[in-house]
Symmetry: C5
Subunit: 300 residues, 5 copies
């Protein structure tokens, strides 16, 4: 997630320099084509204006959908935060005999296993297996889940089996069993929804043609203002800069679980849950919140 | 679902060649009509500009709704993934006596029958009966469902009857019965929602008139720039290319369960569930994930 | 629901002929007013262009809301389909003693009474009382519901009373009672939501002023291009055709329960449920699906 | 809620006459300023066109949000209709011993008290305390609720206490208690959501600046077409009429619980529930539906 | 939340004076650059018109998302109001033995602790720790929660533990336990959703580039109308005023929990709940509603 309100010129150029050069080249070509080859041919300004207006719509549409994916991803992980807190609360407050004081071993195990679920899900979404989740699993669980394609799902299966044990031992009644199983179902849903966003490619034809159309407008604008002389190259680039930058901004939100500065800060969210849950368990060592990168420019 | 970010020229032409030819013909006709027949008649550029802006709105509207149908379809099948996992988890973890170890025959049967439900639903949505679902049904079930118009619904009816048996045998209590019946109800909803999208034709007047209006703009633009000479034919085609391509892109998402490259990849999603569930059952033979088609261009 | 992708010229003219004639008359008047009365008065093209752009927005807004009403109506009836199947499934699978085989008289009665609910709701939404619902009610029920303003609601009241009897006879426990009562509540919600759309008039000022503004644009466009001679009458009509047709298309979706070709196909949806439920009951006579009207042009 | 599709000239003038006069005055001033003071100054048409397009967007935005508030308000009260029917149904069908026939005194009291809740909520939303709710309360309740700031909330508190009594007397079990308490919670939510819309002022800066911008456009348009002579005053007014009217239409939906012709018809909706519930109770005197006002122009 | 419909000139200048001055400077520079340096260079009006239209879209997009964040924040706190009332109602009506009259000490404590939760959450969202929440906690609780990073979450943990005590003492059964725990879960969700909005920075590239693009348009417009003389400086400023003001309006809603005049009025909402709950408890001292600030201009 980007944090800084003002971008440095460095970052703007970093985002756009390739496309800037390509545009300047195209506009120069368009300008000389128009003035040297198509002499006497004067494209009226309303023509690229019509195209530009239409394309602004289509960019707006893509950006809208990209933002929706990003925000939905954030909502999904926000819900995982909330349900993680409820999961820990339910375990700590409701899942032992009335005369038991404090937190039982079993409760601690199920809370920490939930942290393992979150770490495994994060690694899977970012397609970077890191084994960080193993820290919160006992050895038996660690060995068990390795045989599965979908590790976070396998962890939830263990949670379900142990929830049944809680009921078999009469620590929780049917109502509490149902409430906690609902939370497991919510975790399944949060996992599946994240996978849906991560695995569904935004219709590539939109992205491709929008880019193509922007190039068309850039060239046509340059030609339409070519009577102004070489400054028309600059004007073509200005229009292209506005359109391409906006399109690039949108695209940077399209895959919100990738490991980029504008993505959802999974590290930071997971750490927040970790801190809340470990504090609740009364652990001595509580990890620090994730710090922003590159002097506060973004957080991962 | 399309996978490749860059379309080959071949694919662009494949999508648009018919309409490209038709447009070039119309623009040529419009050009000669304007210059030879309507001599001295000079359509001002603001006229097609106004029409074009209005039509860009209407294309945007159709595309928006088309994308919504596509994304809703994806969400519905995402929810089927999640609930399938919960269904298998509930059966494996909660639905046998406390002293029973492993997975009972009955549980395995109900999990595999669920795979039959998904295969039957997929075939029905694509209107291509393929009998693949039969693999996961016992012979009795196979014969039973054949008498029904709606096979997936008939499979759910069997699941409900067997759920009742689980309760009659005291393997599940009222809470678990309710949780699992809720999942059956979710499957019913997912099935019905898919049918709704599949069977509801997007208002045909929108699609028809939008196409008609684009043709109007193409012809009028050509006439408005006819003073530029034959290159106005090319300019008319450029505008038409932008508008028609965008409209075609939208339309390709309108019926997301059809068997086309841009549709929801039902094969791939069903296979993902299949792998998760069979792994959970500890099956030896696990099918491979569905591979992309035509060198990674799309996945079905 | 319209089915045909291509409209015949006949249908287009049928939709628009009145407005076409009125527009041609207005444009002719505007043209002669401009050229004969306001000689030397040359309205610049940007003026109607600005108005046209603004009005395209407002048409887009109305169309958006109209489509939302139509699609929400479809979703409501889709949910009625799903819950009807769940209702029948719950009755057939769960609502008799464990040793009872087959479907009891009481279950059949409650399933058929649900079909009566759907037929009564359909007739009430279309404001065409047809008595078709009576077929699925016993005489006692038929007489009872006649005293009520809202017949479908009265049918649901009977269902609730008989649900209580199922529990009094210990055929269903509290969990099943709750699940089935939730379905009754869903039917109440589906009924109420349909009534909400049906009884809420879309703000009439929007519709009225949008129409008025389109007429303004048509006249102003004609005047702005009057220097082209009588063909400006044609151009005025073209703009008007685009705007009015789009507006009419939107309006045709505004009241989705009316008995028009573009409305939600309540006959067809109700029949689908009827077929599913009667097949489930093992009835011998199953009615055929509703056939499209006028050679496949639409379905009711 | 407005009912008439066609507005009389009287109503249009009633909505707009003040602003029409103010616009004519401004346009006249702008015209003479432009032609007498700023002689030789010719504002190009693209300038107000750009501003007009931008402002059309912003008007569209405000209208969208205003309509959303109006439609959400309608949905909230639609849900109150549905839950009111479920509340009455649950009380009448489930809340007395199995051998009791008919409707008990207690049930009748709780159904009528619900009507009091609706009348009290309606009066509170319209900020017009009318005491109509007292008709459906016994004297004890009437005196009790008077001490509270929020009368509808106090009525719900009584309902909750009496629901507990139903359970204490073993008329309803835990399941039914939960179902009915859920309805009470829905009423709490409907009340709170209505209050949210009623008490949240739409960001005033939007409304204020949009109005200001429209005046700017009106003046600038007049100046841009001033070369046409005094008719430019009329053209400025036309643009202003389109923009202001659309903005006023939107604003009229912004506060949907106010007592205006375009508001949500709370009287009519409450009466519909009243009729349904009293018919269900078998009351002899059933009030008539609310009739439209001013010859069918609107309903309150 | 802003209350006044009409802004004073003072407030407008306060919002915009910095940007107004900067714009006047830029426009002046642009004007003299265009007329003195780039003599003979005449930028056609369609060029900034195209850019302006595109940027109006992008401003519209940002404003839309900003408003959505603001309105979602309001909805979240509206839901907290509703669930707070349900929480108090459930405690007062259902959570003591049937023969107990009035409100028990335990109930009072749990209702007041909920007010502490709201005050702690409010302070945390505004990042202004104020200790106001301590008033509603007993000393033991006060000391307990101080050790936690997230105080409102720690308060909910205490509520959960005491809810378990209510059940251990047989004051509430499993159904009531579940209903009340659902409310605790809703509070957890409301807290987490508020944190999500508060901690998620709107993609900074959008805000930054939109501002940059507006400056571009301002300069280009000034140049395009420079032939009108120094008044083009004024016209550039007018366009900039419209665009910047609209953008600033949107941005002021982006972070709805900040302590600014346009934010969600958390003080006022919390006080409303406080009044409702204390009245319900029969407290003698009821605090007054929060009064608007600066002569009714806004409420916090």
């Amino acid at each position: 997630m980007l944090l800084k309100q003002n971008l440095s010129l460095y970052r703007i150029l970093k985002i756009t320099w390739q496309i800037d050069l390509a545009m300047l080249a195209s506009c120069t070509a368009a300008y000389y084509l128009d003035t040297l080859v198509f002499k006497g041919w004067a494209l009226p300004g309303t023509f690229p204006a019509l195209m530009g207006t239409a394309i602004a719509f289509f960019i707006g549409f893509s950006n809208n959908e990209a933002y929706s994916r990003w925000w939905e991803a954030r909502i999904i992980w926000g819900a995982l935060v909330n349900d993680s807190r409820s999961w820990a609360r339910n375990l700590m407050a409701y899942s032992h005999p009335a005369d038991y004081k404090g937190i039982s071993r079993q409760e601690e195990k199920m809370i920490k296993r939930h942290l393992a679920f979150l770490y495994a899900l994060k690694a899977s979404l970012r397609r970077k297996p890191d084994g960080l989740y193993e820290k919160y699993l006992c050895e038996e669980d660690r060995n068990h889940v390795k045989g599965f394609t979908n590790i976070p799902n396998a962890i939830l299966d263990i949670q379900a089996r142990e929830l049944q044990i809680l009921q078999d031992m009469n620590y929780i009644d049917g109502f509490k069993f149902m409430m906690m199983n609902n939370l497991l179902q919510n975790f399944t849903d949060g996992m599946g929804k994240s996978e849906r966003i991560n695995n569904t490619v935004f219709p590539t034809t939109y992205v491709y043609f929008t880019k193509l159309f922007i190039w068309l407008v850039v060239v046509l604008v340059t030609m339409a203002v070519s009577s102004l002389g070489p400054s028309s190259i600059f004007l073509g680039w200005v229009i292209g800069f506005v359109f391409h930058t906006t399109h690039i901004n949108g695209m940077s939100l399209m895959n919100p679980f990738e490991l980029t500065p504008s993505s959802i800060p999974l590290d930071s969210i997971t750490r927040t849950i970790e801190i809340n849950l470990l504090e609740g368990l009364g652990e001595k060592y509580i990890p620090a919140p994730i710090a922003p990168e590159r002097g506060g420019e973004f957080i991962l």
